[in-house]
Amino acid sequence: MKLEYRDTREFIPVDVDKGIDRLTGEFVQADAEAPKGYTQLPKCKFCANYVEEASFKGICGASTQEPKFMAYGDMTAITCEMFEAK
C-alpha cells in the first residue's frame, strides 16, 4: 500500500507542510510518497471504528455518547486506546 510520508511512523512532523524522514534525516514534504516498507501511522482513517460520512470527517464508532461523537480521518491515533487497525 502506498503511503504519504505524513501517514508513516518514520515521518517526524515539523509543520503542516513538511517533516523529517527519521531514517535519512532529510527534510521531506508531508504529501510526498513515502518509500516502500515504511510503517503505517495509526490514524482514525485506518481505524475499524471510524466511519467517514463527509469530506474529511465522520464518526467514531467507539465513542460512548449518543449520538456517536464526530471524528476526522486524519487525526493521529497512537495515543487512542480505542484504535483498532482495519
Binding site: 517526524i12 512532523p13 515539523v14 509543520d15 503542516v16 507542510d17 513538511k18 523529517i20 527519521r22 534525516g25 527534510f27 514534504q29 504529501d31 463527509a54 469530506s55 474529511f56 470527517k57 465513542s63 460512548t64 455518547q65 461523537f69 464526530m70 471524528a71 476526522y72 480521518g73 486524519d74 487525526m75 493521529t76 497512537i78 495515543t79 487512542c80
Partner: protein, 904 residues
Amino acid sequence: MAKTFKEVMADAGISMDFQACGTAPTEIVDREIVLEPHDRVKKLKNIFMKTLSSANNEFPYWYTREYMKLDSEIPVVRRAKALKRAFSNLTPVIYPGEKLVMHKAPFFRGSFPMPWLSEGFYVAKEDELYQDAMKRGSASADEHSKFGQGGGNVVASFGKVISIAGKFGMRQEEVPALIELSKMWVGKSVDDLGHKYEQMVPNYETKEKIMRNIVCMFDSGYTLPQGREVINYYYPLEYGFDGIIKIAREMKDKVAGRADGDGMVGMNRLYNYEAVIHVVEGVQKWILNYAEEARRLEAAEKDGTQRKEYAEIAECLEWIAHNPPRTFREAFQMIETIHLAVLNEDAISGMSPGRIGQVLYPYFEQDIEAGRLTEDEALELLELDRLVKTSIDCFASMGVVGGVLSGNTFNTVSVGGLDKDGKSAVNRLEYLVLKAAASNAMPQSTIALLYDEKLPEDFLVLAAEVIKTGAGYPAFMNNQIAQDFLLSHYGPEGMHIEEARAWAIGGCLETSAGCWKPLHLNGKEYWIPGGCGQPTSVGVHFVSMPKILELTLYNGIDQRSGEQVFQPHGKRLDTYEELWEQFKLYWQEAVDVLALTNNIQHDVWRKNNMAVFNSMLKPDCLENGHLINELGYRYNATYNVESTGTVTCVNSLAAIRKLVFDDKKVDLETFKKALKENFGFRTAHEVNSFSIADQQKRDDDDGKWDELHFQCLQAPKYGNDEAYADQILLEWENFFCPDCYNYESLYGHPMYPCQISVSTHGAMGSATIASPDGRLAGTTFADASLSAYPGTDRNGPFALMNSASIWDHSMSQNSQLNIKIHPSAIKGVEGSRKLVDLTKAYMRKGGFHVQYNVVDSKMLRKAQDNPDEYRDLMVRVAGFTQYWVEIGKAVQDELIARTEYEGV
C-alpha cells in the same frame, strides 16, 4: 511624486534624519558581538528557522468530546476531566538531537484553537475556510514561496495548507472538523456567554462604540484570559506529581462535606481537589506518552549515541512523571513540561518562567559539586530552552496575534534582584542564563534584569554585552521601584518587604507578585522565588489616549468613522483647563464601562474555564483548596487599566496648550480643521507606510496648513528635559495612576495602572486621525509609555531620562522606555560600561524600565526591502524581542523612524 514629509521638512530647514548626538557612519554597521550556540542547538535552530506556525485539532477534539459527554458533572470536575482527556491524547513527537523534549502540539511550532473560549471566528469564517480547504489541491512552487515574507507565519493558504488569521497553518483535512467542533461551542463559549451578559450593563452601547472605533483594543476575557504573570514551579519540584496527588487526596478527606465557616465557596474545596487530581493525572499521562515514544525510538535507533540519548530522555520522563527531580536536567525538563502544560490549559500569552536561574540553582550547585554536570552542559540546556520557548505560539485571532503580540508570547525570564534576606540574588547559573541568551540569540525567552545597586558590576557588564548582540535583551527593571509598587498595592493583602523581594516580570513588562518557598534537595534547604498572584495584565486593555483626545476635541465624535462614541459634551473648550477636564471625564467614562463589561467576561471565564493546573501550582491553592476563580492565590488585586499612546497624547496636549491658549497662534476650530485635513498629506494607508518620515503631500495640496503644521512639530515635545511638555506628563500620571483605583475588578479589588503598549501603538495609530503634535493620520503613536516620539528627542539620552522620570514610577505597575542606539556608539568594553552607566543613571533618577535596541536603522530599511536575507534579524519592539520578518509593517516603520542615538 508628491513631496515626502521628510522633504517638506528639509525645505523648511528642519532636519529629519532621526539621528541625535552625532552622525551615523555611511555604511551599515552590524552588531559588534555575534556568538554561536552548540552544534546540537544549531541543528535544531535550523529546523526552527524553516518551520511554519502550525495548528491542529487534537487537543480541542478530545477536550470537546469529553466535555460534551459530562454535562451532568460539577463544572470544575467536568473541565478537569476534559483537560485530562486532552493531555492524555496528545501525540508525542521527539526531534533528533533534542534533550529537553515535549511541545505544545505535535509540530515543532505547534498550537491549537480553544473554541470554548471563542469560536466566533471559525463559525463566521466557515464558508471561506471550508471552501479554501475543499479546493486545495497539490502544492505548487509558487504557492510555497508565498509565505517567505512572514518568516514562520503562514500568511496565505498554499498547497494543502489553510492559513488561519494570516498566522497559523492548518491541514485542509482538519478544517471541516475544526468548524464542526467550533459549532458545538456556539452559545456556550466565554465569548458568547460573556457577550450575552455584558449587554446587560446599562451603557453597553458605549462599549460597543469604543471597540468599533478602536478606542480600546481588545476584550481580554475570552482572548487571553490568563498570563502576564509568573508561574510557580515549586510544588512539583518539592513533592513531585505523585506527591501532589497525595496531598490533594489527603485534603479531600479533610474538607469533604465541610464548609469550615465559609458558606459561599467552602464546600467547593472538595471538587477543586478532585479536579486537581484529574488534571495532574492527565499531565502525567502526557509525559509518559513521550517516555514511551522515546523508548520506541531507542529500540529502533541504530546510532549508538542517539540511542543512548533517547534512553536518557525516557529515563528522565519516567522519573519526573511521578517523582521530584534529582538532577539539574530532570529539574529543567520538569519546569519545561509544567510550563507547556499551563500554556495548554488556557489561551495564554506572557506566562513567564520567572527567576529560573534561582529556581534551578539548587540542582545546578549540587550537580556541579558532585561532578555530574559541567557548566558547558548547563549552557547547552539553557540554549535548548530558548528554542523551546521561541517555538511557543499562542493561537488567537489576528487582531490579538498581530495587533497586540506581534507573534511573541512573552515568556520572560528574570535575572538578578534580591534574595529573601535582601542580598544580591545573582548566582553562577544566572551568568550562564545571560550567556545562553547571547550564544543562542532568539526572541524568547526575553530577559528582564531586576536591577539593584547590590548587583555585581561584572554581571551588569555581561548584560550590556548581551544587549550588543542586537537581541534587545536584557531590559533593565528597577528593583526598588518595583518593591515600592508591590508593597503599596499588595500591602492590604498582607505583603511585606521580604515577600516583595520575590517579584519578577510577568509577560513582557508586568511587575508581578511572588513569594519564597523552601525547596529541599539532599537534606539542604533553598528558598526559591515563584509567582503567587493572579494574571497581572488582565482588565481594561489598551485605551488609546490620542483617540480620547480626538473625541474630546470633536464633541465625542470619531473623525474616522463619523460615529458619536460618547454623548456630546457640548463644551466650547475655551481654556486648556476645560479641555483637560473633559479629556479626563471621557477617559473615566471609557474605563468605567470597559471595566464592567470586562468583569462579566472574566466572570463567565472563571465559572466555566477554571485554571486548575495553573492554580494548583501557585501558593496557596493546595493549602486552602481554592483555585484562581475563588481567590485561591496569595495576591488577587491584579487587574489593571492599560494605556497606549501616552507621549503622542502628551505632545498633542502641549501643542494645543502652546499654540491655541498660550501663544494664540491659531484658534481651536481652525486647528481641528487642519487635523481633519491631515495637514494636506495623504493618509498612511494611502501611502502604505506608517512611519511619519515616509508620509506624502496630497497632489492637490495648496500648502495652507504648512505653517501650522511646522508650528505643531516645533511645539514643545516630551523627552528633552524641558518642563513645558514634561509637566503635562506629570499631570497625566498624577491623574491616571490613582484613578485606576476607582475601578473594581471581579475579585473585589481595586485595579491599578499598567503602562505598556506592546504593539498596539501601531494598530491604534492606524485608526486615529492626525494629532496636534504634528503626527499624521494613520501613522503609529510613540511606542511604549515613555519613549519619545521618533525624531523629537534632540537633547540626548540623559535629557530623555530626565523627562521620563519626572513622575513617581512606583505609582504604576510599570512604565516603559525604549531607546535606539547605533552599534558604533557603544563599541568595545568602554561602550558596554557606558551603557551600564547610562542605565544606572536612569535607575537612580527613579526610572522603572529601560531597554535598548542596538541596531543600524539602515539595516532595518534594507531588511524591510529584502526580508528573505534577514530571516534571523531580531529587533526589540516594545517589551519584547521579535524576528524582524514576523512583525507587522506598521511597527517595522515605526522602529525605523525611532530616533537613533549616535553617541551616549
